[in-house]
C-alpha cells in the first residue's frame, strides 16, 4: 500500500517518539515528578496516528513492532542504514497532545527537545531536528527557540497546523520574531492540539475526516493568515514549510487568494505583491503525502507540478513511519527533469535549512 522511500535524499519529515513518558522523566522538574508518581500520565501520538490504522505505519515499520522509532538503533535499522538519506529531519509531535495546561506543555516541549539532542542528534551526524514549542504561551515558545537555536542541528520551529487562532495572528508575534531573529524556518505540521476540532462545524465523526481536513481546511487557512497579516512584510527572510499537509491544494488556493485580493487589497496595503507571489517566495511543502493518488493520469500530475512550480516548491520527505498509500510522486519527479528531481530530493532542502552552512557547526557526535 505504501509509496516507495527514495534512497539518498534529504528526508524532511521523519518521526521519532519516546517509548513512554517515563523516558522523559529526567528532563522534568520535581514539581512534575509528583504528577508522574501519582497519576498514570502518558504521552503519545496515538490520537493523531491510531497504532492499528493502516496509515500510521508502513508494513516494514509495523513488522518491527516499534513505531515511530523509539531509539536511534531502531531508526538506523529501519530507515537510515537502509535508505541512506543524506540528512533526515526528526519530528516528534507528542507535545501536540499536551494542549491544555500551558506550563505542562512548556515542560513537555523542553523535555522532548533535550531528549532529541541527547538520544539522537549527538549520535548520528545525518540527523537534524525541529524545535517543538509551547503553543499556549508564545513568550515561553520564544525562550525555547532562542535557547535551542544556538545548536545548529535544530533547523526549524515546529507548529501544529490545526489551531484555535491562526498562525498569522498578532498574538503569535513572539514566535514569528524568535524564528526570524534566529534565521529558522517555521514548519506547519499536520494535526493539532487536543481540543482543536478540525472543521468550522466543530468535531468530526471519523478519523478519515480529521485526516483529510489537515490539508483541505487547516493548511490553506494558515497560509491565508500568515500572508494576509503581513508576517512576511515584517520578516522578509522568514520561510515556512508545510509538512505532511499534502500540496495538491496549493494551486487552487493561489488562484482564489489572488482573485479576492484584487477586490480587497485596500484592506491589506502592506502586501507588496500578489498573495500567490508571497506563497511562492515564502512557502515550501514536503512531498509526503502528495494527495495525488497513483491512478491520476501522468499528464495531470505533470500539470499540477507545473502549476505549483514543483521543482522549486517541494522538498522530499518519506514521513516515515506513516503510510499514506500509493501516490504519484514518481510521476511528478519524472515530469520535472533531472535538475528538478535533484532540487526536490536534495537541493531545495539544502538551501531551505542552510544545511551546507550548518553541516559542520553542530555535529558534536
Amino acid at each position: 500500500m505504501s509509496g516507495e522511500i527514495i534512497r539518498g535524499a534529504i528526508d524532511c519529515d521523519v518521526h521519532v517518539e519516546p517509548a513512554s513518558l517515563e523516558k522523559l522523566h529526567g528532563y522534568f522538574s520535581p514539581y512534575w515528578h509528583d504528577f508522574f508518581r501519582g497519576a498514570r500520565m502518558s504521552l503519545s501520538s496515538a490520537r493523531m496516528y491510531p497504532p492499528n490504522a493502516p496509515s500510521s505505519a508502513r508494513p516494514e515499520a509495523r513488522a518491527s513492532g516499534s513505531f515511530p522509532p523509539h531509539t536511534l538503533a531502531e531508526l538506523q535499522s529501519q530507515l537510515l542504514d537502509v535508505y541512506r538519506p543524506e540528512a533526515a529531519i526528526l519530528n516528534c509531535v507528542v507535545s501536540f497532545v499536551a494542549g491544555k495546561n500551558p506550563y505542562y506543555q512548556d515542560a513537555v516541549c523542553h523535555a522532548v527537545n533535550e531528549w532529541i539532542r541527547d538520544e539522537w542528534l549527538d549520535h548520528d551526524d545525518r540527523l537534524r531536528a525541529s524545535i517543538v514549542v509551547p503553543t499556549l504561551d508564545p513568550e515561553a515558545a520564544a525562550v525555547e527557540i532562542d535557547r535551542l537555536a544556538q545548536d545548529k542541528r535544530f533547523v526549524q520551529v515546529l507548529l501544529p497546523v490545526a489551531t484555535e487562532t491562526p498562525w498569522g495572528n498578532v498574538r503569535w508575534r513572539a514566535i514569528h520574531e524568535a524564528a526570524a531573529r534566529n534565521g529558522l524556518p517555521i514548519a506547519l505540521h499536520a494535526w493539532g492540539a487536543i481540543g482543536t476540532a478540525a472543521t468550522a462545524t466543530g468535531y468530526t465523526r471519523s478519523y478519515f475526516e480529521d485526516y483529510v481536513l489537515n490539508s483541505q481546511h487547516s493548511a490553506p487557512e494558515q497560509v491565508l493568515s500568515l500572508v494576509t497579516e503581513g508576517v512576511f512584510d515584517r520578516h522578509p527572510e522568514l520561510m515556512v514549510s508545510l509538512v505532511e499537509c499534502g500540496f495538491s491544494w496549493i494551486p487552487s488556493l493561489m488562484w482564489q487568494f489572488d482573485k479576492d485580493w484584487k477586490s480587497l487589497w485596500r484592506e491589506v496595503p502592506w502586501l507588496k505583491m500578489r498573495p500567490s507571489e508571497y506563497i511562492r517566495k515564502h512557502f515550501r511543502a514536503t512531498t509526503t503525502p502528495t494527495h495525488i493518488p497513483a491512478d491520476v493520469p501522468a499528464v495531470q500530475v505533470a500539470q499540477v507540478g507545473s502549476m505549483l512550480n514543483a521543482a522549486e516548491f517541494l522538498m522530499y520527505s518519506s514521513d516515515y513511519p506513516h503510510d499514506h498509500g500509493p501516490d504519484s510522486l514518481e510521476a511528478l519527479l519524472d515530469s520535472v527533469g533531472d535538475a528538478g528531481r535533484e532540487a526536490i530530493l536534495r537541493g531545495n532542502a539544502t538551501s531551505f535549512y542552510a544545511l551546507g552552512e550548518r553541516a559542520s557547526a553542530g555535529a558534536a557526535g
Binding site: A53, S55, G202, H217, S225, W249, Q303, M307
Partner: protein
C-alpha cells in the same frame, strides 16, 4: 472582475440577443427596511422590532468600501432591496434568462428559537414570492428554512414544493453539527423528494471556526470560507448521506471550485487506508462528490494562464456541474459578458453559462 468603483449613471444598451441560455445562479435580493419584520405576526413582530434576530456570526470585519456591495447598486434602501434596480442592472443589462435569488440573512434565522425561526423563514419566502417572483417571470428563488429545527424546515420545504418558481433549499456552509449529522437528514430527504437541490452559500452560520481559528481580516475570512465546503462534503459523504438519499444534490455557492481537485484526490487516497471506518460507503468518496456536488462560478478564478483553470476543470471531472453566477449586487460581481476567459469556449461555455443550471434546476421548458 474586480469591484465596480464608480457610480456614474450610464445608458443601458441591451446587448444583441444571444443564441445561448444565460442563467445566473447567485443573485441577492434583500428585504427592504423592515421588510421581513413588518410581515411577521405578533408576538414576533414586536420581538423583531425590539431585539432583532440574534444568531451566530454577527461580529463583523471593518470593510473599506460600501459594506461589500457595488457602489452603483444602492437604491433608496439597501443594495438588493429594489426589484426594479435588479431587473434593470442585471436581467435587462445582460439579457439574463433566469436569475436565482438567494436571500442571505435567511441562512442564519435558525440560530433563534424554533418558533421565531420558523416565522422568520416563512415570511421571507412569502416576501420573495410576492415582491419578486410574482413581478418578473425571469426570477427563481431559494427557499429559506430553519435548518437547525428540522421539523419546521421540512414543513417549509413542503409548503413551497408545489411552486416551480422555488428551485432549491438554502443552507449555510456550516451549522451547529457536521452537515452529515442525522439530525439534518429529514431536511435532505424532503428536499430530494421535492426535486430541490440544497444551495450551500458560503458564510452565514458562523457558529464555530475550529480547525484554524478566527481570521483577523475580511480577505482571509472571505477566501477561507471557501474551505467550509470540503468540510461539508466530507461530513456528508462519510456519513453515508448519498447512499441513503441518492437523489440529493448540493450546490457549493460563491466558493470557487478548483479546490475540489485536491479534495477528491485526498479523499480517495485516504479512503483506501481508512475504509474500515466508513462502512456506509460502497464507492470511492470522489464518486459521490462528482455525482452529487455542483458549483457556482463567482468569484471566477483567474490563474495567469487560463489554460490551467481548464486543466483543473478536467481534473475535477465535473464540467457539467459548474454554473455561472454573478453574485449581484456584491462588490465582487462577475459580469456575464466578461468573467469567463475566452479559453472556455464551445460546449463547455454554453454548459457553464446556462445548460448545466437548466438541468439541475429542472428549467426544462426554457429556450432561447
Amino acid at each position: 472582475m474586480t469591484a465596480i468603483e464608480t457610480a456614474a449613471p450610464r445608458e443601458v444598451v441591451r446587448p444583441a440577443r444571444r443564441a445561448t441560455l444565460l442563467i445566473d445562479a447567485d443573485v441577492h435580493p434583500i428585504a427592504g427596511d423592515g421588510g421581513v419584520g413588518d410581515r411577521l405576526a405578533e408576538p414576533y413582530r414586536s420581538r423583531f422590532k425590539t431585539f432583532g434576530v440574534r444568531n451566530p456570526g454577527q461580529s463583523t470585519y471593518p470593510r473599506t468600501r460600501n459594506n461589500g456591495n457595488r457602489l452603483d447598486s444602492r437604491p433608496d434602501g439597501s443594495p438588493g432591496s429594489s426589484q426594479r434596480m435588479t431587473r434593470s442592472q442585471l436581467l435587462d443589462e445582460y439579457d439574463e434568462d433566469i436569475a436565482i435569488l438567494i436571500h442571505l440573512p435567511g441562512r442564519t434565522y435558525s440560530g433563534t428559537d424554533p418558533e421565531y425561526s420558523r416565522a422568520l423563514c416563512a415570511v421571507t419566502n412569502d416576501m420573495l414570492a410576492e415582491e419578486w417572483l410574482d413581478v418578473d417571470p425571469r426570477y427563481r428563488a431559494t427557499i429559506v428554512v430553519p435548518f437547525e429545527h428540522p421539523e419546521y424546515a421540512v414543513e417549509e420545504i413542503e409548503r413551497w414544493a408545489g411552486d416551480p418558481r422555488f428551485v432549491q433549499v438554502l443552507i449555510s456552509g456550516s451549522a451547529e453539527a457536521g452537515m452529515g449529522d442525522r439530525k439534518y437528514w429529514p431536511i435532505y430527504r424532503a428536499a430530494a423528494e421535492a426535486g430541490l437541490p440544497l444551495g450551500a452559500h458560503l458564510g452565514g452560520y458562523d457558529y464555530n471556526r475550529a480547525g484554524s481559528g478566527w481570521p483577523s481580516f475580511f480577505l482571509e475570512e472571505h477566501v477561507g470560507l471557501h474551505y467550509e465546503m470540503p468540510s461539508m462534503a466530507l461530513s456528508m459523504i462519510a456519513a453515508g448521506v448519498f447512499e441513503e438519499i441518492p437523489t440529493l444534490n448540493v450546490v457549493a455557492i460563491e466558493t470557487c471550485f478548483s479546490w475540489s481537485v485536491s479534495l477528491q484526490w485526498t479523499m480517495d487516497q485516504s479512503y483506501k487506508l481508512m475504509r474500515q471506518e466508513l462502512p456506509a460507503l460502497s464507492r470511492k468518496p470522489s464518486e459521490y462528490f462528482r455525482e452529487h456536488f455542483w458549483f457556482t462560478t463567482q468569484p471566477f478564478e483567474e490563474p495567469d494562464d487560463p489554460n490551467e483553470l481548464i486543466q483543473a476543470i478536467e481534473m475535477m471531472g465535473m464540467t457539467e456541474h459548474i454554473m455561472f453566477a454573478s453574485d449581484y449586487p456584491h462588490f465582487d460581481f462577475d459580469s456575464p459578458d466578461r468573467a469567463l476567459p475566452l479559453e472556455i469556449s464551445g460546449v463547455m461555455r454554453e454548459n457553464i453559462l446556462g445548460e448545466n443550471a437548466r438541468r439541475l434546476y429542472r428549467l426544462d421548458a426554457l429556450t432561447r
